[in-house]
Symmetry: C2
Subunit: 690 residues, 2 copies
Amino acid sequence: MPPQSTLDIQAARARTSFDPQVLHRVLLSGHKDPDVRKRVAQLLADDPAFDKRSRPYLSRAQQIERGLSTTKALFDLVDRHDLDHGEYLEALVSAMDEPIGLNLHEIAFAPVLASQGSDEQQAEWLPKCYHHEILGAYLQTELGHGSNVQQLETTATYDSKTDEFVLHSPTISATKWWIGALGVLATHGVVQARLFIKGKDHGPHLFILQLRSLEDHSLMPGIEAGEIGPKVHSAMGSVDNGWARFNSVRIPRSQMLSRFASVDPKDGGTYITPPHSKLSYGGMIFIRAQMISNLSWREAKAATISLRYLHMRRQFADPELNPGEERVEKQVISYPGVYMRVVPELANCIVFMLAGKDMANLYHSMASRLSTGDTSLLASTHAVSSGLKVYVSTRVVAGIEVFRRSMGGHGMLASSGVGRVFATELPAQTYEGENGVLSLQVARAALKSLAAAVAAKGGSNHSKAKLATSPFDAYLSALDPRPALPVQAPSTPEGWTDRAFLTRLLALRAALSVVRLADQMRSAGKKFGDLSWECADVSDAVVEAFLAKRTGEMLDALEGAGDKERDVMQRVVTLFLLSTLTNALAPLLELSILAPSAAADLRAAQAAAARALLPDLVGLTDSFGFSDWELDTAVGNADGAVYERMLEKAKADEELNLGSKQEQERLYRTYIRPVLERGRKRAGRTGAKL
Amino acid sequence: MPPQSTLDIQAARARTSFDPQVLHRVLLSGHKDPDVRKRVAQLLADDPAFDKRSRPYLSRAQQIERGLSTTKALFDLVDRHDLDHGEYLEALVSAMDEPIGLNLHEIAFAPVLASQGSDEQQAEWLPKCYHHEILGAYLQTELGHGSNVQQLETTATYDSKTDEFVLHSPTISATKWWIGALGVLATHGVVQARLFIKGKDHGPHLFILQLRSLEDHSLMPGIEAGEIGPKVHSAMGSVDNGWARFNSVRIPRSQMLSRFASVDPKDGGTYITPPHSKLSYGGMIFIRAQMISNLSWREAKAATISLRYLHMRRQFADPELNPGEERVEKQVISYPGVYMRVVPELANCIVFMLAGKDMANLYHSMASRLSTGDTSLLASTHAVSSGLKVYVSTRVVAGIEVFRRSMGGHGMLASSGVGRVFATELPAQTYEGENGVLSLQVARAALKSLAAAVAAKGGSNHSKAKLATSPFDAYLSALDPRPALPVQAPSTPEGWTDRAFLTRLLALRAALSVVRLADQMRSAGKKFGDLSWECADVSDAVVEAFLAKRTGEMLDALEGAGDKERDVMQRVVTLFLLSTLTNALAPLLELSILAPSAAADLRAAQAAAARALLPDLVGLTDSFGFSDWELDTAVGNADGAVYERMLEKAKADEELNLGSKQEQERLYRTYIRPVLERGRKRAGRTGAKL
Ligand SMILES: Cc1cc2nc3c(=O)[nH]c(=O)nc-3n(C[C@H](O)[C@H](O)[C@H](O)COP(=O)(O)OP(=O)(O)OC[C@H]3O[C@@H](n4cnc5c(N)ncnc54)[C@H](O)[C@@H]3O)c2cc1C
Ligand SMILES: Cc1cc2nc3c(=O)[nH]c(=O)nc-3n(C[C@H](O)[C@H](O)[C@H](O)COP(=O)(O)OP(=O)(O)OC[C@H]3O[C@@H](n4cnc5c(N)ncnc54)[C@H](O)[C@@H]3O)c2cc1C
């Protein structure tokens, strides 16, 4: 007979109300090709070079080596199976499940060349990139400056005599720092440096720089560089983040990326101003847009492991059993104290998947307008992508930790596999715009939208502000006309599942939060800079209103879904809305959007929505479609058998974990035996007595 | 001239309104001796065996070796400097700053023997423990059961023929798992096993078992054991958590710990029921009581590093400068978006230090009564210690992460030192009672207190319930007489710093939350088990009311404080209360304790309280008294010089991080060169061309 945990997972699967295979394709459609995904993951799984077993046991130096060995193995795989560029990227960025230095080449170096290089520069450099004749890094951040790019200290001084730029690090804090792939791998980099022409400072610009010799990989003259050391929680241990200092390093004028700004050699150097300075924002938006999907699919791994385990874990018999009921222990997923923690996170995760696709569509609309010189969607797309990046990265990281912690003791084991996901995604809150800083921009954009709406109305009366047009400002229409507050709360449980109503509550909350922020600047006379604490809240409120609004579009866009898949997705979205509202209870009550008496009904509705998903939890994890190799877990495999696997693995990995038997014997002789001998002596006894 | 970061930290220090040396002694008084603490930390710092530099670079096997090598080095240090037991424990548990297997001997094995062993057992075993003739582990948790101790599966069957117990692991899930020091170090263990006498199951009891030979450390016959593998985030890498299985292992009857229950050999084995079954709770309470202080002092390390760094980090000039003002960038601690995140966490941390001492006092009162057979304080002390354990561990872990994240990019570096603190404290939420499970007990105790208060009143009218007597129930008196709600909110900012008023709000919130829980069981007819989600909230509410109430006692007990130290501590407590209320805004509004219009004033008061601490932040970190060696950080040292140190460290640690130059050269030849050569070939070029 299979172990209880296998029976439990099978029973859960049998209850599923929809077809996970169908939903799998629905969730991926518009994001990636499910067949490519599966094939590529299988190729990696079959290749011993990508074996994951050793990962948690490695020293930093071994992690670095793993980053390099998988780099080479990946190209071998590409050649052996003749993978195309898309398949190669799927393997590198997604299937491998461990970032390595090479990622920076593809997600930072090459895209910057492609978006900021002139046509000639692209013609020269992109083929080298594409063939990996060179390997690149993106050198922006310095020891002293990350968020404030405008104050970077590295200089690029134009020398008209030689028609060159001189790159230099004038201070310690000008040292480039954090740069992925710079520590060991990269041969080239794009460097942000402050452009000086004839003594005048034109601010940061981008320059292509060869970092290491293509003959022997030694650092080029005038460049000093190294690795910055391990990250917290051993996160991204196989990425060689590096530092670099420049001692008057000369590069030809042609190596300033000049799609937008450039330097004309005439008159000892003349700065050519970019025609549309904001055109260069596109790349940043693209990266952030992609982060939404990626983060949601990473969280989905944590969700899969945790939710399966919580079905297999049994702890405590029901203390309030009726006579005759069997005293078998309950599955911990059945406790409200457990499911009310994890099921809302699952709903978030799935909505973020849909939002990622939605964001990609918004990006493409903007990009196609941009290509015709139309910048009308730029500002709002920038705001949406920034707001979503802040919101989703924060919640995904928190959600992964909820999943981990819900598992009790076994969640603390590296072999459970959730800790690694957490550590890898943790810095998403910090890179591509530190969340605290980025939320300021979202709030500022919201203030602008409000001002525009008011202006369009031709008066300062918010309540009748003209409807905003961008999807990111749509919540403002909740104030037009200004409704009586508190709103009439539903009197039946069904009323609390009316998604339009729930969306309206979130719109009101966002609109009133922005109005309050504007008031604080106007009437309370505060500077925007004094309101950075309030901005974080406003940013969240605006994003929540946006997400709520878009869930309608998202549900409509479920390509390939049957009725049953639609039904479960509707339940997911309803729970998302109710959980979001429950978390926003304080502002909803403070802003008198809801009366205090509605709070209990809201919470009851959220709990009912969570319960409505209970029968489908394992089915939903199946619909994410991760193979056991992808999950790399001892506790969340598709077929259960948790305890058997955990014990098995501890035994099988003994030497990886502790060293060989001989080594273990050495440890005993060197450290333990002397301590015990000392103990015996202190006790005044002879060894023979024991 | 010293670097800017040094000037910044000096300027912050110069602003301090009190004497950090004095406050240091105030904070430690009643907790530990500051001179012993300092001396012991210095001994470790001076001993190369405890050098911390290699830590983040080690493989798991090396971490295990470090655990053992520091074990031996610690005893060498004890012998060399003739440390007494208290100094030895200070070194092991606190100064070393990295848990090792040996901790379990002192905090689990020996205390259990001391509290559960009969006088004869103590006489036999405690000297061996004390001299470290044997090294112990505590084997309770199994693969299948952690929280539910009553369902442990390991059996201890009494064999009357030989007057022995037979220890056995009947299933895979009965495998002992998670057991600290069992993996490699321990020679002995105390094992929880289900006692069977003549076929009757008497539930879990404790047995002393020799695990490994004292001659050669080989496992004793019938025992199979090993290490369970690394923990997430490389947490506690030097602790050898282990597993074990027993195949009919025989031990003499004298090895059942029998202070309370025991087996009499007559009639083929007769179970002797413990006289006061709850007397055995004392040990658990003691451990949880100690966790409060320990957790707060660990968080204090994270606070020190982060707050210092946030004074040294400058990012962005004020965009709204008046003409003539200098465009030097601002210290990030000056942004509300930063200080409103970290200063409340600092206030929590300091209040938890005081609460730890308070808890220790409560424990000692209970223990002294217990020694005379008086169990009257047992239940409430158990509830307080459980509630505080849940509350403080959750907030400390979250707080450490707030401190880390506040630092932006550099907070992600292992060398910043905050990540390690997070990883080490993370499992405190799980061990010594999983927080979700423990909060059920706190809520259940609160329901009992309410019922008792109602019963004492002789009626079911809550509003006139008799005042409760234990400090943990004092909040119930807020309902006697039941006040008109919402309460009258203060009309001035000063009113919002009245600690008695703030405490009353938290008492009302707790009392009404408990009443609501009771109502849900009574009128809504829910079982307690259906309310585990609500229980978490109730547990928090009750603890917050308790902490608020006790801050009065805590401030009175500031031994050795002058007026200035008292003043800053009052500001700390005020911020703690206001932040706690701000976080509880949703229930305060929902329960109509506050009117919506009061919310803005509450938030303003919290912000003002945080600002009132700004000048003293660095002084407060100094008052924690950590040396640079203790902090082990590149970014939070006492003297600033952040960037210089970071760069310096990256250079100095290069070989630890990447391996020798030769190794690095090998990596290039083996992995990077082939990839670049492939790239050149693919591009159809010869190497010579580049
Ligand atoms: C894993 C990782 C990989 C990276 N890879 C690269 C790379 O390949 N290339 C590269 O160039 N960079 C890289 N970076 C650097 C990254 O982009 C920066 O760390 C990031 O931009 C954050 O900037 P910072 O560290 O300066 O944060 P800071 O701005 O110093 O933030 C410190 C604190 O101040 C707050 N703060 C700052 N300004 C304000 C304000 N005006 N108002 C309110 N609060 C404020 C922030 O919210 C934060 O709490 C990487 C970083 C990490 C962690
Ligand atoms: C680092 C570390 C060191 C340890 N060292 C030791 C040691 O030396 N010796 C030893 O014996 N043990 C040790 N342990 C084990 C530890 O005591 C257990 O892991 C802990 O008791 C948690 O139990 P669990 O894993 O069974 O959690 P579970 O009870 O399985 O919890 C799983 C989930 O179910 C929830 N849950 C369970 N029951 C209920 C309920 N009735 N209602 C609502 N929710 C519920 C929990 O909240 C949790 O979310 C250690 C653990 C760790 C992580």
